[in-house]
Amino acid sequence: MRSLTSKISHNNIIVLATLLLLLVLYGSGAALYTGFFSLQVFLNLFIDNAYLIIVATGMAFVIIKGGIDLSVASVVALISMVSAALFRQGASAVIVILASLAIGTLFGFGQGYLIQRFRLHPWIVTLAGMFLARGISFMISTESIVIDNPTFVMLSQHKIYVWEDGFINVSVIIAAIVVVLAILAARYSAFGRAVYAIGGNEKSALLMGLPVAKTTILVYTLSGLFSAVGGIVFTLYMLSGYSLHLMGMEMDAIAACVIGGILLTGGFGYLIGPTLGVLCTGIIQTIIMFQGTLSSWWTKITIGFLLFLFMAFQRLIVMRKEKSTIPISKNQPKFENKVVNL
């Protein structure tokens, strides 16, 4: 027991709190509603939210670097639209997937280049990117296009049985691979360490000789690529292309990151966090669905309330950390002098 408590530190307490919340939410759902505690309900959480997990993980890199990417939801919608349009032209599934990945990567690279090269604010650039992606999908078509490509339909309906009757689909496998790769990249690669260092303090990272410009562009490119993968998974899930898909999903991704314990000041957070955050919101949605009489807007209110709780909690921890690490400057006013504030 002692070894367990000693392992809880400033660094992992937020992720542990998220995990605890996840268990409490799931437990209360299981206790309140019959049929909630079934393997398939649990696995459906992953099936329904696979795309969000992927996108939120990409967003996590950007946030840890100290930036923001508002274009993710529009890129997902754009990918769904482009796929549908290409299929209508008679393209094969491989070409569509390759084209999607290329579009996402190029899109992210463009945004990263503008932000890094011309010192533009990421908020403004990715906002323009959001308009651009939605605009292009509107130009392709304002109607919803159904996808009936046999490969995509097969991939979408293919069930992978994990335990007796419980099944997952291809999307969940893709999401799992992406998350594992992201965790490995963040922990064990030079790129991951550079991202954390830049998020902590860009000037010191530059003085340390880290490739700040390259990493910044790479981070946004990565977010674009993850959005593209998320877009493919989402297209598999919906089997349609529509320019109004997922309005406002970028905020869900940011919320998942915050609930998952990633500080928006940058430089801190675990890459498993976004997945836990997405699962939390997913469980809330499932509970509200099982409850039956509550209207859908209660989801928003509950998620917002959770956001508030986690932010207050994060703030408390950061405050305690500051107190314990800076004992010298007692007579200084308690304003932190951070460069990054958004």
Binding site: I68, F118, L127, G135, F138, S295, R315
Partner: protein, 336 residues
Amino acid sequence: MAILTALAHRLVKQKLIWPLLAIAALFLFNLIVIPEFYRMEWKDGHLYGNLIDILKNGSPLIIIAIGMTLVIAKEGIDISVGSVLAISGALAVMLLDSYPLWAVIGAGLTVGLLCGLWNGMLVALLGIQPMVATLILLTIGRGIAQLITGGQVLTTSDEAFQFIGKGHLLGLPFPIFIALGVFLLTYLFKTRTAFGLFLEAAGGNKTASAYAGIRPKVIFMTAYAITGVCAGIAGIIISSNVASADANNAGLWIELDAILAVVIGGTSMRGGRFYLGGTIAGTLFIQALTTSIYSLGVEPSSILLVKAIVVIIVCLIQSDVFRQSFILSKKKVAQR
């Protein structure tokens, strides 16, 4: 020639020049391509025309962008204005059935003020980053607005209430006067009281301003409270203009347009100096762009695309790095 270059250099340093140039370029383009854009009509004692439409439809955005300027000046941001707008509009239309008009307007403004104070409390007292703090209200706000309307689109037929958004005064649409009033009040508040100076000081450097004896927390709370009230006013105008309250779509994405207007207007996202006049010019540019696209007969679906490209161009022109690299390459050519 030297005087001219010096003048040009001074002009380029002026923040207001860029949005004004952009508007001028747009109007010049319209003059050549669609001359009928400038046609005005006098009908039943009211003035009609595209220019009036720009002012009228831009009014809610102007009001919100003014509030946003104050918040951005203090190195913050408020992404919850759209949701606050929806709450205020929904509350106003719901209360209209059983309460007099002044109480309804009061309630709309009060709920805006409360939301602003909530944001201010999270940012100033708890010290949460502005974007995250207002993200909470962005998420919850739409939920609360839907709770008020019960998920329906509420409608009203109250004539007096509809005057706020649809009425005319001196031949001009009434919302223009509200926007003008808000601008004048804020401008006076900035120039005639110490608040403007304090806000710029606190936005420029929080620690230094605290040493200088300014209380940044109070300043921040005030800035957020003003933004909340502005969103409340805009909510009432919008719901009155369409005589209904739609919790889902009222003011959707208006926060993004407002931030855009502020940035085009020359106020830096990193805080410090702020330019209310620039914000107005930025807002009018965005609205004029939208109206021009509609009157050009281009598909409305392409509006987002055009907006995105224009935003990137305007931001690039404003970026010092971009301008420098452009000037440098020119000089190199001249040397050769």
